[in-house]
């Protein structure tokens, strides 16, 4: 009996016990969808505890330690508290849209998990256009912010939402452009193909600049610090979800945590080899693929937690400047440079031939060339930025030196 597809496994059992043929297929697909959708929700429960402990230890305090050993049952205490709150709908709010907005936010994250390859034989759906699907689904989260702010019938929510939507839409551009690099290197948009193309060399060594750009853009897409104007707990009276309380607020909250972990998973799949471990182990024990994937995702998740707890918030105009004047030009030049270098490598003949594509040693020359190209571009960018900043600083001190001479008499 085959085990890699839930239709092959469950449907024959149902048919044997008397179900109709395609009703059994439909029921087994439905069950598979439910299992795959519950997976990230269960992970979120652990994430709530982990994030609070991590943030607390960085800030030199203990974190949750009362509920259960080491505070491990804290998420359950949170859920019970939030479930017990009164379910308020503000007066004049558009009830249907008000209730749909948090659901759409969680939906936009869960839909990403449908294309992530969890192991060599387990994947929700091997879409031909997996990478493009991820970006399309991320736009649902932007929609949910608009729905939430408009239906709250609150001026401040609306104002907060304008800035948030501007941030979310702007950072989709470098996200999509840096997503192009793994697609180019693997020759296909399907996430399964991208993962299998990294059997020779992980893409984070081949294209480190793209990995950094993707990481920064995905942090801005979720609204994580330093781009967390979305929540800004200490500023604009909590932003677009000001009128949400109780379980609906919990949905927004949990959706954001899930989104950060999903970004870690995407970084692992696109740049760090996904389910590929060492020595081809995941081909003989496919469940180890899931373990490897989650280990790599946790590394990126912890990196984002570190950045969140250590760096202050940026202003909205600094955010927009950073995106349109720095990230977008760098990602465009990066795409052009990588395409050019790939062709150069093929012309020079040092690209690995198709039958040697999975060999580590055969990939090294190509990796060295592309890595060198990335490093050169990174140094160029840093030089440009630092020289411009130096010019501004010199100009500012020159201006300050002139003024006292003319003032006062």
């Amino acid at each position: 009996m085959q085990c890699d597809n839930i239709i092959n496994t469950l449907a024959p059992c149902l048919v044997q016990s008397g179900w109709n043929g395609d009703l059994a297929n439909f029921a087994s697909i439905f069950l598979g969808v439910i299992i795959l959708a519950t997976f990230p929700l269960l992970v979120t429960i652990v994430l709530i505890w982990f994030e609070r402990k991590f943030a607390a230890r960085i800030q030199d305090r203990l974190g949750p330690n009362r509920v259960g050993p080491f505070g491990l049952l804290q998420p359950f205490a949170d859920v019970i508290k939030l479930l017990g709150k009164e379910d308020i709908t503000p007066a004049g709010a558009d009830k249907l849209i008000y209730n749909i907005a948090p659901v759409m936010m969680v939906m936009s994250v869960l839909l990403i998990w449908a294309v992530v390859p969890l192991s060599p034989i387990h994947v929700g759906m091997d879409l031909e256009i997996g990478a493009l699907y991820i970006i399309s689904v991320a736009s649902f989260g932007t929609l949910s912010v608009i729905f939430a702010s408009w239906s709250s019938n609150n001026k401040y929510a609306l104002l907060g939402a304008f800035r948030v939507v501007a941030q979310l839409i702007s950072y989709e551009v470098p996200l999509a452009l840096s997503l192009l690099i793994p697609v180019m290197l693997a020759g296909s948009m399907s996430l399964v193909d991208i993962t299998q193309a990294q059997a020779g060399m992980w893409f984070i060594f081949v294209a480190p600049l793209s990995a950094i750009l993707f990481f920064i853009s995905s942090q801005a897409e979720t609204g994580r610090a330093p781009f967390d104007l979305l929540e800004a707990e200490s500023e604009l009276v909590a932003g677009f979800n000001i009128e949400y309380s109780g379980m609906k607020f919990a949905l927004f909250f949990a959706g954001e945590f899930m989104h950060v972990f999903t970004n870690g998973v995407l970084m692992a799949v696109l740049f760090a080899g996904g389910y590929i471990g060492f020595g081809g182990l995941e081909n003989s024990i496919p469940l180890l693929g899931i373990v490897f994937l989650f280990l790599k995702a946790s590394v990126f998740y912890m990196l984002s937690l570190l950045i969140r707890n250590a760096i202050p918030r940026v202003r909205i105009d600094q955010l927009m400047n950073f995106n349109w004047k720095f990230l977008v030009p760098v990602s465009i030049v990066n795409v052009v440079m990588m395409a050019f270098l790939l062709k150069v490598v093929q012309a020079l003949g040092i690209a690995p031939t198709p039958e040697l594509a999975n060999d580590f040693v055969a990939n090294i020359p190509q990796t060295l060339v592309l890595f060198a190209g990335n490093v050169v571009l990174g140094l160029l960018v840093m030089n440009t930025v630092s020289s411009r900043i130096r010019k501004e600083r010199l100009q500012e001190s020159a201006n300050r030196a002139i003024v006292p001479m003319g003032a006062g008499d």
Binding site: I97, E128, Y133, S136, S139, W150
Partner: protein, 173 residues
């Protein structure tokens, strides 16, 4: 797979997307509250994306969701919010709405009777079950003897539209 006489899953999906699309379109043109109309529009566009998936064009379906729902839908919501203020005025129709309805109905009947039924009334299954893939679409868009020139012109058009929209909507300082 057959659920009954001829109700294949594909027919079921077609019916579902038809309800989404036509129901959403009716909601767009009859809704008095403009924000609701924008939401019906997004539902309609989602139905069209579903049709594209049924018709073996997954790339266009994804681009439809990304561009129409993720960008144009948000543009419409912003435009509705920025040109109304926070008052919930109910929009009204023209005085000649019945004439417009008559014109639309005439157009539909003319299209059906004049074009669709004579020319394609007895068309059935598609010509072939295999289709080209997304790779072929990519090749077609950049290959020298196919569509590279319209592709470049389209990118120029988008740049011009972007700059023009910013210039028009900017406040005069």
């Amino acid at each position: 797979m057959n659920f009954g006489e001829g109700l294949t899953p594909e027919a079921f999906a077609f019916g579902l997307f038809t309800i989404l699309t036509l129901g959403g379109a009716l909601g767009v043109v009859t809704s008095l509250n403009l924000v609701r109309a924008a939401i019906w529009l997004m539902l309609t566009l989602f139905g069209i994306a579903g049709y594209f998936v049924l018709l073996s064009a997954p790339f266009l379906a994804s681009v439809q969701v990304l561009v129409y729902i993720g960008a144009i839908g948000i543009l419409f919501s912003f435009a509705v919010m920025l040109t109304r203020g926070m008052t919930n005025l109910k929009e009204r129709f023209n005085d000649q709405w019945w004439l417009a309805g008559l014109a639309a109905l005439t157009a539909f009947v003319l299209l059906m009777v004049g074009v669709i039924v004579p020319a394609f009334g007895n068309s059935g299954a598609p010509v072939s079950d295999q289709v080209t893939t997304t790779v072929d679409l990519g090749v077609a868009l950049v290959s020298g003897n196919q569509y590279v020139l319209p592709f470049e012109v389209a990118s120029l058009l988008l740049t011009a539209a972007m700059i023009g929209a910013i210039v028009i909507a900017r406040e005069d300082d």
